[in-house]
């Protein structure tokens, strides 16, 4: 973002005599080489692999054209994974976003123990996703877990099997992900709220704005850049969902997601070509959201 901001005025100035300053390019060349070798190169190679049939050990992948994609679009597991990613996406852009915003608004006020609450809601983020997966798998344990012990305690005779129930399992995993995401979104919004100039809100109050009007017409528009970031992060996080599924069910119980599906096909089933095809589809879907984000960012940069 800074680079765009810095380059911008230069371009504007560049009129008659264009003098190219090579120094920045000299500095950028090393990271650029690294970037090409480790990011662009493997990405292109994945595209190539998706058109082949390769077990990952034979010397040469054999070219099969679009056969992997044909198979993919008729694969039941692919549809299951895509549906689950979409469920994840819908939940992620609604619940943690509104929940995190609400909590940020509450904790932004001076209140007793406010800092303690902030820390406790943020603390899940300190844990690695694998640890969260393990903890929640215990919480969901139908015979000894926290939830069912509580339910039995209050007299529910036949509590659900949670991860053992194929209709509930994916929602259980998404719930665990939301538990973590809410604190993250809250912190982003808290930072955004701190950046709002108090004179603006005070002016609104002086002008007699109600609390709702203040929020709706002053605070929320000022938070728009944060909201964009939060939405994009939520979308990308929900598309690359992998860790919790891998730990909690390994994709069984109708909880498959694209990233885990790709991992299983490529590294468990030795179907590198098919795994690469899944990766290409996942990449394409992600690009829609990343493109949207870049478009927003560049547009905002230009407005300044």
């Amino acid at each position: 973002m800074t680079s765009i901001a810095q380059i911008q005025p230069q371009r504007a100035r560049g009129g008659t005599r264009r003098h190219i300053n090579w120094t920045p390019y000299l500095f950028i060349i090393v990271p650029l080489i690294v970037y090409f070798v480790w990011i662009i190169g493997p990405t292109l190679y994945t595209f190539y692999l998706s058109l082949t049939n390769w077990d990952g050990v034979s010397p040469n992948p054999s070219f099969v054209g679009l056969r992997n994609f044909e198979r993919l679009f008729t694969d039941r597991t692919f549809h299951e994974a895509l549906t689950n990613n979409l469920r994840w996406l819908v939940v992620f852009i609604t619940i943690p976003t509104t929940g995190g915003l609400g909590m940020a608004l509450v904790f932004n006020q001076e209140m007793r123990g406010g800092r303690w609450y902030k820390v406790s809601f943020y603390s899940p983020l300190v844990l690695s996703l694998s640890v969260i997966g393990l903890i929640w798998a215990w919480v969901y344990n139908p015979s000894l877990g926290l939830i069912n012990s509580f339910l039995r305690g209050v007299g529910v005779a036949d509590p659900p099997g949670w991860l053992g129930d194929r209709d509930l399992a994916i929602w259980c995993i998404i719930a665990a992900a939301v538990w973590r995401q809410v604190g993250y979104v809250m912190i982003l919004y808290l930072a955004g709220l701190k950046n709002i100039d108090p004179t603006l809100t005070e002016a609104a109050i002086v002008d007699g704005a109600s609390r709702w009007q203040l929020f709706r017409h002053v605070v929320l528009p000022l938070l728009a850049p944060v909201t964009t970031i939060v939405l994009v992060i939520s979308m990308i996080d929900s598309l690359r969902a992998f860790d919790l599924v891998s730990i909690m069910t390994r994709g069984s119980q109708r909880t498959q997601v694209l990233a885990n599906f790709m991992y299983i096909e490529a590294f468990n089933n030795y179907q590198m070509g098919y795994g690469a095809a899944i990766a290409v589809v996942l990449f394409s879907i992600s690009m829609i959201f990343i493109g949207f984000y870049l478009w927003r960012v560049i547009k905002t940069e230009l407005e300044y």
Partner: protein, 425 residues
């Protein structure tokens, strides 16, 4: 400053240089270091593994081992990278059956027939294990130990419910399920979160109903999943579900968590491998016994699951001669005796002294030796992708038996495609 850096720095420098030039030292005559990667990451196997490495190093100072232990699951994923590296690690631990065959067929594993002959393995190894080591005329995989599968049970719990052990027929098995159900318990604990414990049920039902020959052909993708014999397997499975044989929500538990149902006495039995005793509380082990999976069709030979572990040498090994020397040591009577004494792993050699083993181990040995056929396990006998699809289907069936025909049709489509790909290679 330099002085403080001095000694420690010098040591580091020496170590770094030694590591850097180590690959160069290896000679064709087998001297020089041998690299050895294994997955023995659990405490007991790790201690054993490190013990045999220490003994080798003491006896062969000119061929020291560079030993790396990698966590079990990571090792499985990393193996392909190891084998295709230049140079590859010399000796690696792995599983027998299709899991090993996959790499052998791709020319990544070294033929050690000369060592097999010179070490006298032909006389020492039981014929079934010799067959696991060989592909056509070459020897590629050295099977060194195995364990058995059986129905583990708690005698006290079965007695309480009024079920006589061992259960020897299908009707008695269903009767036991009913007796447990009536007592407010469940006959079988099972944890299918990672699916493979369900595959054990498929293996045993298929082998008991259709016999080991059909089972093997199915594993090799030669028989169809839509065959009526496969449907019969699921019919029997359906009966187990109808008789409430299993604990509720098995997919919510991994295999270790499901052991708790037995420990608490809420379930009486568990179809599991011999490693269940690692997970079982020591104070209750007196109240744990096992018997053979009951016979269903008395006309077919008895097949048992007995997964075999062992070692192989990478085709790209840096020190092929050293690797073969070490492999000969790993397959020796001395090491297998230690594996039996320290880990309770059953030996693949016939000359290991089993007089000192526990009663349970002896019973396990008898179980396998009286079997007509020994299978590895569903996910070791069939191809990795077929195993993945199959285990998914088992779980889907468990959840909703009414979709069986669709599941089998899909499985067979997978099988046909995989068989074609295999034939094309």
């Amino acid at each position: 400053m330099l002085k403080r850096f001095g000694f420690f720095g010098l040591m580091l420098l020496v170590a770094a240089t030694a590591l850097a030039i180590a690959p160069v030292i290896a000679q064709d005559d087998g001297t020089g270091p041998i690299s050895y990667n294994s997955y023995a990451s659990d405490p007991l196997p790790r201690a054993f593994d490190e013990g045999i490495v220490a003994d080798w190093n003491a006896a062969h100072p000119d061929q020291p081992l560079q030993h790396s232990i990698i966590a079990h699951e990571d090792f499985k994923q990393a193996l392909r990278a190891y084998l295709t590296a230049e140079p590859a690690p010399d000796v690696l631990s792995w599983f027998a059956g299709n899991r090993a065959r996959f790499f052998i067929d791709r020319g990544l594993i070294m033929d050690f027939s000369e060592t097999w002959d010179s070490a006298g393995f032909d006389d020492a190894y039981a014929p079934g294990f010799e067959a696991l080591a060989r592909v056509d005329e070459g020897y590629y995989f050295l099977p060194t130990s195995y364990y058995w599968w059986a129905i583990y049970y708690r005698p006290s719990v079965l007695e309480e419910v009024g079920v006589a052990a061992p259960i020897e027929t299908w009707d008695d098995l269903l009767g036991a399920c009913d007796a447990f159900d009536a007592a407010g318990k469940r006959a079988f604990a099972i944890g299918t979160r990672f699916r493979w414990p369900a595959a054990a049920w498929f293996d045993y039902l298929n082998m008991r109903i259709n016999g080991p020959e059909f089972h093997t052909d199915l594993m090799l993708l030669k028989e169809s999943y839509t065959d009526e014999r496969v449907v019969a397997v699921f019919d029997h499975w359906q009966q187990l579900l109808d008789h409430n044989c299993f604990i509720d929500s098995p997919a919510a538990y991994d295999w270790q968590e499901a052991v708790d149902f037995m420990v608490r006495g809420d379930a009486g039995m568990y179809l599991m491998g011999g490693f269940i005793t690692d997970q079982y509380p020591d104070e209750l082990e007196d109240d744990l016994d096992f018997f053979r999976f009951p016979v269903i069709n008395p006309d077919v030979p008895i097949g048992e699951d007995a997964p075999t572990d062992g070692y192989f040498i990478a085709a790209n090994a840096r020190n092929p001669q050293g690797a073969q020397d070490f492999l000969a040591y790993l397959g020796s009577q001395e090491v297998q005796q230690r594996a039996l004494d320290e880990l309770g792993r059953l030996p693949t050699r016939t000359d290991v002294d089993i007089s000192g083993v526990s009663e349970a181990t002896q019973k396990g040995i008898d179980l396998i030796q009286t079997a007509d056929y020994v299978a590895q396990f569903y996910d070791r006998d069939t191809t990795p992708e077929m195993a993945e699809a199959g285990m998914d289907a088992f779980m889907a069936f468990w959840d909703d038996p009414s979709i069986l025909n669709d599941l089998l049709a899909e499985l067979d489509a997978d099988r046909v495609r995989l068989a074609e790909e295999q034939a094309a290679e």
